[in-house]
């Protein structure tokens, strides 16, 4: 016990004298919280559209007007030449090309049928999908309006209509920041727990002070606790700072209880600290430790649903999610922040996290040897 106190005293002294760590703890939350949510706006705001109008009839122009008036589209080009529009899309300056062929209006009136052509820059599949969906919707509306206008449909609805009403729960204003911020807090905690810990221990390896410890009567568990406790503390500090900045910058506060957040953070941190410890037993240089940590974190976080939904992943990847600690924490922190989930809603996740904490720390303790075999 006495040894542990000496270790902690030394560790805290060193941490407070290390400007890099302090800077990291302080600045990383700020920078990440500011830049990423601001940049990460997936909402497809304005789709650029080029119109190739070879008809120039009143109705072709009406169609174009309808598209531009909708607010979904920004007309970047109105031309008669497909070649020109083609060049524009090659340059990446437009998302969609709508081609209205010659005799569009005439065909519609005389032969009851007319054709339009849509070409989408599908390099970004989602954007192309949404863009064509919106366009199809507008064209469908336009078609209906034309039909009603020319046919004088009776007031009574002859066509069956399913009216869909959608309600958005928890995030009334579709605020993407609200979604991103808790995710970033999760990354923050993961980085502090895993990366900093691994780096710190490996730095001692590199400098040689770990040898001095290995040669001394300090017990294995004393050494490990001596590292776990301070960095656990740092982790808890970083999530607190993160939440403070989330409030200051975005006015985002959790709907759920802080106690739940801290309870989960505490256990989650133990898990990622274990991972960091484990990494430190495999790496000999700080360079290796950085690479390993970065690699692990990237894979865990990407597969953890931070950026793409877990349901969209194939079976095998979804299976991996079950043994992916960050996946649980990301889910939990979002749930508590945005939906106000209670502890009772998330108990299975809590148990999983306890499991991780035990697993990784046991592995690390097992792997760490004072004496090389």
């Amino acid at each position: 016990m006495r040894n542990l106190l000496f270790l902690l005293q030394k560790e805290f002294r060193q941490i407070f004298r290390n400007p890099t760590i302090l800077r990291m703890i302080l600045m990383m939350p700020i920078i990440q919280l500011i830049v990423i949510p601001l940049a990460a706006d997936y909402e497809i705001k304005q789709i650029s559209i080029s119109v190739v109008d070879q008809d120039h009839s009143p109705y072709s122009q009406k169609l174009v007007h309808k598209l531009t008036a909708s607010g979904y589209f920004q007309l970047v080009e109105y031309t008669q030449s497909y070649a020109k529009a083609s060049k524009t899309v090659n340059n990446g300056n437009t998302d969609l090309i709508l081609t209205i062929p010659q005799h569009f209006e005439r065909d519609l009136v005389k032969s009851n049928k007319a054709q339009l052509h849509l070409a989408a820059d599908a390099v970004n599949g989602v954007r192309a999908g949404l863009g064509t969906a919106y366009a199809a919707q507008m064209i469908g509306d336009f078609n209906r309006e034309v039909r009603e206008e020319w046919m004088m449909l009776p007031k009574f609805n002859e066509i069956p209509q399913i009216e869909i009403t959608s309600a958005n729960w928890f995030n009334q204003h579709s605020d993407y920041h609200l979604f991103m911020v808790p995710g970033i807090l999760a990354i923050l905690v993961t980085m502090v727990g895993c990366f900093l810990t691994a780096l710190n221990i490996v730095a001692e390896k590199e400098v040689g002070t770990i040898e001095q410890i290995n040669v001394s009567p300090i017990k294995k568990y004393e050494f490990i606790l001596g590292k776990l406790i301070p960095f656990w503390g740092l982790g808890m500090v970083s999530i607190t700072l993160g939440m403070v900045f989330a409030f200051l910058i975005f006015r985002i506060i959790p709907v759920g209880s802080y106690l739940t957040i801290y309870a989960f953070s505490a256990v989650y941190l133990l898990g990622v600290l274990g991972i960091g410890l484990l990494i430190s037993t495999f790496a000999d240089t700080q360079q290796q430790a950085t690479l390993f940590s970065f690699f692990c974190m990237m894979v865990f976080i990407l597969l953890g649903g931070l950026y793409t939904p877990i349901e969209s992943m194939p079976e095998w990847a979804q299976w991996l999610t079950r043994i992916n600690p960050p996946a649980y924490f990301i889910k939990v922190i979002r749930a508590v922040f945005i939906k106000g989930s209670h502890f009772s809603d998330l108990t299975p996740d809590f148990l999983a996290m306890i499991g991780f904490a035990i697993l990784f720390n046991v592995l690390a303790v097992f792997n760490y040897r004072k004496r090389s075999a």
Partner: protein
């Protein structure tokens, strides 16, 4: 004859097929200054790490301070001191803080720590530097402080791994004065070095070549045996036949 502080018999360490330490046998008596010489790659660091409890032996016997290296490794650590090549002190802690830490984990009480700190500072000649970060001190002082910290808890034996690397001759001389003082106090010194002139300062010297002990005697004895005027010549004669050497 008192029980040897270090006893090895056919101590061997292999890394795969490579035999780093090849069945070495020797004893070190209490209070001795025992020099463990050899070229780089001869196996002396490996042997020392086994004795310190940093590396497991592959086969053979060894006891340190009376404790068995296989079964009582942790017990050994309470009775030894160690100074590595890198002078492993914490660079971003002050001298005082380093002493406090290392003294503490070796079981010194607060009172003892206080006394020893004062003595150490006096001996090394520090004064204000005691509260400076170790990283800011010149190499010579780091080395002396490192040694003093290693013997803070009055271990039975202290292991020194190439302790004088990179320092000027005057500082080296001063360092050896400290070693003499410690030996005088009853601490056995086990020192590895590749500076052949330092071999002259030891009571007995062993020279390792290719993993085996090629010679073990007092410096005078070795010079007579190899008809050499200094230890350099002794070493050259032995090293000529060596397969493993620098680089």
């Amino acid at each position: 004859m008192a029980q040897p502080v270090i006893h090895t018999h056919q101590l061997t360490r292999k890394f795969g097929d490579f035999v780093a330490v090849n069945a070495i046998s020797f004893d070190v008596q209490p209070g001795e200054i025992f020099g463990f010489l050899g070229a780089n790659g001869a196996g002396k660091t490996t042997a020392m790490r086994i004795l310190c409890g940093l590396l497991s032996p592959t086969s053979g016997e060894a006891t340190v301070a009376g404790f068995d290296v296989y079964r009582q490794n942790e017990e050994i650590k309470k009775h030894i001191g160690y100074m590595s090549q890198k002078f492993s002190l914490y660079e971003n802690l002050t001298v005082r803080e380093n002493i406090q830490f290392f003294g503490g984990i070796y079981g010194l009480s607060r009172q003892e720590l206080k006394e020893k700190t004062t003595t150490l500072i006096e001996r090394v000649g520090l004064h204000e530097e005691a509260d400076k970060l170790v990283g800011s001190l010149p190499l010579g002082w780091k080395q002396k402080i490192s040694f003093s910290v290693a013997i803070l808890h009055r271990p039975k034996i202290v292991f020194l791994d190439e302790p004088t690397g990179g320092v000027d001759p005057i500082t080296r001389r001063q360092f050896w004065d400290m070693i003499y003082d410690a030996a005088h106090d009853g601490i056995t010194i086990f020192v590895t070095t590749h500076y052949m002139d330092e071999a002259e300062y030891c009571d007995r010297v062993s020279i390792m070549v290719d993993g085996s002990i090629a010679a073990l005697d007092t410096p005078a004895g070795l010079k007579k045996q190899f008809k050499a005027t200094n230890m350099d010549e002794v070493f050259l004669q032995l090293a000529r036949g060596a397969k493993r050497s620098d680089g």
